[in-house]
């Protein structure tokens, strides 16, 4: 049973690290600020969630588990709020999202191919 828990926790930690790394790569590969927020959102939701759940499996019943759960809930709430605040501030300061010309809903935005 212990071995099983170890293996499961190991898988969660590695896949969480993979998603975190993917998000970091996305920070570099995506062309503009608004698409980069999506990449950061990957690291903040599934990356952090899987790593923390993997740690929870190692913690056993007790205060450590409760604290890890607290960190998970708080980081989910805070990352969405911070992400929305950044996107809204960027839009308000005049940063234009990069969009594609075949999107009929975004007629008022500047369109550019890269």
């Amino acid at each position: 049973m212990d071995i099983l828990l170890d293996i499961l926790s190991w898988i969660l930690l590695i896949s969480g690290s993979f998603f975190t790394f993917t998000g970091a790569v996305g920070l570099f590969r995506f062309p503009d600020f608004f698409s980069r927020t999506h990449a950061a959102s990957v690291t903040d939701t599934l990356g952090a969630g899987l790593i923390l759940i993997g740690l929870m499996l190692q913690a056993g019943w007790g205060l450590v588990l409760a604290k890890l759960l607290l960190i998970l809930v708080f980081s989910l709430l805070a990352s969405t709020t911070a992400c929305h605040a950044m996107a809204k501030a960027a839009l308000k300061s005049g940063l234009k999202p990069l969009t594609y010309s075949d999107q009929e809903n975004s007629a008022e935005e500047t369109t550019s191919k890269h």
């Binding site: 998603f19 993917t22 998000g23 790569v25 996305g26 590969r29 995506f30 062309p31 503009d32 608004f34 698409s35 927020t37 999506h38 990449a39 959102s41 990957v42 939701t45 599934l46 205060l63 409760a66 604290k67 607290l70 989910l76 969405t80 709020t81 992400c83 929305h84 996107a87 809204k88 960027a90 839009l91 999202p97 990069l98 969009t99 594609y100 999107q103 809903n105 975004s106 935005e109 890269h114």
Partner: protein
Amino acid sequence: MKHVLALSVMLSAFWLINSGHYTPLILLFMVVSVLFVSSLCHQMDVVDGESQPLNLTFTIPLYWLWLIKEVTVANIAVARCVWKGADSISPSVIKVKANQKTDLGIVIYANSITLTPGTVSIDLSDNEITVHALTRETAADLLTGEMDRRVCKVEG
């Protein structure tokens, strides 16, 4: 009154989780500080159905489960886009309508949109949320309005 009570219970739980010492003196400190903070919040008039949404207690766990599933699926889609490179994304700005009755419902909807990778809510005015979507698929998913319906159901 029940909102103040809910706030006190939550603050006590927070203290008990973070403290780890359960001697009578420390517990007395807990009671004093919880009473102080609760009365302070009560006098500031910030303890109401918006900061302590008790009416959502039984409807929101099911929504969370659905949201976790959605977030996982969307994460895998965005991760695939990252490894395919910048050519696989088609960013767009769309406007969606929020049909919730209360401000709290609209905020839950906008926050759920932001939590799901691939869509970020960038502006909110009255009942209209401006959303930046990473690909055409994520935009189409949002425009089906399933999330909107489910948040309306949570609101009751």
